[in-house]
Point group: C2
Chain length 176, copies 2
DNA sequence: CCTATCATGTAATCCGTTACATGATTAT
DNA sequence: ATAATCATGTAACGGATTACATGATAGG
């Protein structure tokens, strides 16, 4: 047997197929772009290769449309659904790395100078505030689903990050 | 010419070499583990392969110790330092994805049920609080350097995330 | 009709991870 | 001595990104 293992991307695709029903890669791309893609993005090519890999593993099955373009339509199998449920049922206490390029530059800020750190802080603050506005404009009322509730963490993160960079800009760290 | 391009990991290594001076991969590993590794971690094997790649590109040079174990010692070259300064000087307005596995599970929470979502929220809240305590214990006074100031974002993030998951646990999203 | 954009897909490369493996050093 | 742990390194695999490429549709 192969050492095939499912990545978060795999489960993302499985979850989308379970939620939205049979989909073409392009439909997946669109669905991802306006929802989960806000906090977990990747290029569209993976929405072609990942279902293909999972088809080989039996978690997903592929059909072709009859007429016209004969696009591929993927749907989740019972095996795939079981794997997804297994994964969703494990609570996951692990935390992600922040892996923020701006923060990495700040970390090495002493190698350059306060001006460069300040420019970085201003740029980062602006970007976070912009993203915050985008998030705040997405929904009006309280979240209507678990999926919608995820935006809350996005908003909290952007607020925290914008405030952090503002404080860096106001009170730049000076090396001793 | 090769299409060699520097990744954030490359700059991380360059920055460590610029900050700490010539280092062996193991010294890099230790330095990373107790500082930048808190928000940008990777396995130690990359601290062997990455300097090797950069040596080929002329950004870093390698020497071997004389006696005993003849370990590799890497040091940044003038070319490497210039590349690092270039990178540090560009302000980087780009934002990272959150890419949080727990958040991904929450996103698909409607596929399982409120109990599973609650268990997830409790586990995530606990993990974030634990990490928060770790961060808060690292330094006593105000940050003494740009590097130390990065912990501020870590703390802000953990607080925001812990509060978010607490709110999910208290007020679980119910699908309509 | 022509062209710009959307839609759909493939190929190749490479970074990052996982796994393996072996020298040194310390403790008992 | 010998086990255990720390230190150091390599090999191989595969997922993720980048780049390329072509088919449809709509607008002018």
């Amino acid at each position: 047997m192969s050492t095939y293992s499912l990545t978060p991307t795999s489960y993302l695709v499985l979850g989308c197929l379970a939620s939205a029903g049979p989909s073409t890669p392009y439909e997946l791309k669109q669905a991802v772009a306006e929802s989960v893609g806000y906090f977990w993005s990747f290029p569209h090519s993976q929405l072609y290769s990942e279902p293909a890999r999972m088809t080989a593993a039996g978690l997903v099955q592929e059909e072709r449309e009859e007429g016209g373009r004969r696009r591929r339509v993927f749907s989740i199998t019972a095996v795939g659904r079981a794997a997804l449920d297994d994964w969703l049922t494990q609570p996951t206490a692990g935390l992600p790395d922040i892996r923020d390029v701006g923060l990495l530059k700040l970390f090495f800020g002493d190698l350059v100078g306060p001006d460069e750190v300040n420019a970085l802080a201003v740029a980062q603050r602006g970007a976070h505030e912009e993203r915050l506005k985008l998030y705040e404009g997405l929904f009006s009322g309280p979240p209507q689903s678990a999926a919608e509730s995820t935006i809350g963490l996005g908003i909290a993160w952007e607020r925290a990050a914008a405030a952090f960079w503002a404080s860096i800009a106001e009170n730049p760290p000076k090396p001793t």
